[in-house]
């Protein structure tokens, strides 16, 4: 699914989180929203997921206006910064949640839910953890379960808020590859938010550098490195 963002702006009370920004995201791309805290990258991601609504501007999915679509109608697989796994449910129930939440006639049978959850557990390479509670998992395992839960609803896109932020350096490197693999297998348009320029440059096809609620530059990692559009971009991508 390709996404177009037209003159999107967001205000919280009197403060501007997002100045009018425009952006085109090609179908199947892996995009990084890169910027320091307060740059508006998470706000942009949450607007795409339907968790916030813009003050002005439009969002189009596959050319159709999606600005007013509710969060449920968007079918965006969302991975939260601290994963937001359901603590009182097992890993299996966490992943099955989206399937059980469907309307009765669209809901898969219990056997089908079981098959799909197990297939997702295989995909994240944790086939045996279905019966555990999330408190019994390591940070890296939790992140992968959150990814599987988001994929279970057969999303039209994948949105990840600092997916590696809560992990130590070694696990972070492993899971970067994991996300790349899952993206390549599913072919989903994937957008992740990060403040780590190395992560963005290494993982993404296209990097969107943001600062103070504005898009500073959009480009392939090599192009941004070679031709930074502003002093901010040069300094931020150097460190």
């Amino acid at each position: 699914m390709y996404i177009e963002i037209e003159e999107l702006a967001k205000e919280f009370g009197s403060s501007r989180a997002l100045h009018p920004v425009s952006l085109s995201i090609p179908s199947g791309a892996l995009i990084a929203l890169l910027g320091p805290s307060g740059s508006g990258k998470t706000t942009l991601l949450r607007i795409l997921g339907g968790l916030e609504f813009p003050t002005s501007g439009r969002v189009l999915f596959d050319g159709k206006d999606a600005t007013g679509l509710s969060v449920q109608e968007r079918r965006a697989g969302f991975v939260f910064q601290h994963y937001a796994l359901f603590k009182h449910m097992t890993v299996f129930e966490n992943i099955a949640y989206g399937l059980r939440a469907r309307k009765r006639r669209e809901r898969p049978t219990e056997a089908e839910i079981g098959r799909r959850v197990n297939r997702l557990l295989d995909l994240i390479q944790l086939p045996d953890i279905g019966a555990r509670y999330t408190s019994q998992l390591s940070g890296g395992q939790r992140q992968r379960v959150a990814l599987a839960r988001a994929l279970a609803i057969e999303p039209r896109m994948l949105l990840l808020d600092e997916p590696f932020g809560a992990l130590d350096a070694k696990v972070r490197k492993e899971l970067r590859q994991g996300l790349r693999d899952i993206h390549d297998t599913t072919g989903l348009t994937t957008i992740f938010v990060t403040h780590d320029q190395e992560e963005a440059m290494e993982l993404a096809d296209l990097v969107v550098v943001m600062s103070m609620g504005r898009i500073e530059q959009v480009g392939r990692p090599a192009d941004i490195r070679a031709r930074p559009a502003s002093t901010f971009v040069r300094e931020f991508t150097m460190t």
Binding site: G49, G50, L51, V71, Q72, R74, R75, A76, G77, F78, F80, Q81, H82, A84, L85, F86, K87, H88, Y97, G98, A101, R102, Y133, S135, Q136, R149, A150, A152, I153
Partner: protein, 287 residues
């Protein structure tokens, strides 16, 4: 988490043995005097003329009606306040809106206002001397000195308990899990019942138990608004006071013992539930 807290490494408790013993003894004495002695006194006074006399006094129609009234009032007030408390805590913790601080203060109001004042306020508002009260009387709706007034007074006094228990828990939990449920396609109601409610169930249970204990034990506000009509608007605490003032100490203390037992029962219920689900609690609380 609790493992390390329960078995401190050697050397942490460095106070001399005598000091430790002394502190422990002080605590035991204080707890005995403040908590156990009054409870034992109530029961021993109730049984001072034998169990037969105690049971006989409880079998009187006035005592039975007082017990019945207290239970019915709690049965109405507690679920309503649980629902209102959840709604208030939900609104305060999951949404940002103007006047939030004022709403929190308002929820706390029953804690800061004396129950007697609350009762008087209700009498003034619904009594025959006010415009609203006159209208009620004209339409044959009795609130003051009647059952609805007792329920209103009890609800007012016990309103903060559930919300106060829930608000800190819900603030700590944030709203990410609810948002996750919504992105997975759940409706708001489904997210509430499958995510929010399970996450707050222990705080909710605790709030409900406290609310219930207070609802059954409320004296001041109910004393003012009930008019103390014997056999009709006397709840257990009010009946106890009346009996005591009439020097019927066995009857008074028997009823007091029943009230204490009801409170103990709720505490036991809570312990049983906690014990029953302790394994699940341990698995879900570690985070």
């Amino acid at each position: 988490m609790s493992d390390t807290a329960m078995t401190p490494p050697l050397g942490v408790t460095t106070e001399p043995l005598l000091a430790r013993r002394l502190l422990i003894c002080t605590v035991i004495v204080l707890i005995s005097v403040l908590l156990f002695a009054p409870l034992i006194a109530v029961f021993s006074e109730a049984l001072s003329q034998g169990a037969g006399a105690a049971i006989q006094s409880l079998a009187s129609s006035d005592a039975r009606s007082a017990i019945r009234l207290t239970l019915i009032v709690a049965t109405i007030a507690v679920p309503l306040n649980a629902a209102f408390g959840i709604a208030a805590a939900w609104a305060i913790t999951k949404f940002d809106f103007r006047g939030k601080a004022f709403l929190i203060t308002l929820i706390d109001l029953p804690f800061s206002v004396s129950p007697v004042v609350a009762g008087l306020a209700l009498v003034l508002l619904f009594g025959a001397n006010s415009t609203f009260g006159a209208w009620l009387v004209a339409h044959d709706l009795k609130i003051v000195f009647a059952f609805p007034g007792i329920v209103l007074a009890t609800m007012f006094v016990t309103f903060p308990f559930v919300a106060r228990e829930l608000i800190p828990v819900m603030i700590e939990q944030g709203k990410a899990e609810e948002e996750a449920a919504l992105t997975l396609g759940a409706t708001g109601w489904r997210a509430f019942f499958t995510v929010t409610l399970p996450n707050i169930r222990w705080a909710l249970l605790y709030g409900v138990l406290l609310c219930n204990a207070r609802a059954m034990g409320e004296f001041g506000a109910v004393a003012v608004i009930s008019g103390k009509i014997r056999g009709q608007t006397t709840t257990m605490p009010i009946m106890i006071e009346m009996l005591y003032n009439e020097y019927l100490s066995v009857a008074a203390f028997s009823l007091a013992a029943v009230l204490a037992l009801l409170a103990l029962l709720t505490l036991i219920l809570k312990s049983v539930l906690e014990w029953r689900y302790s394994a699940l609690l341990a698995a879900t609380r570690r985070h």
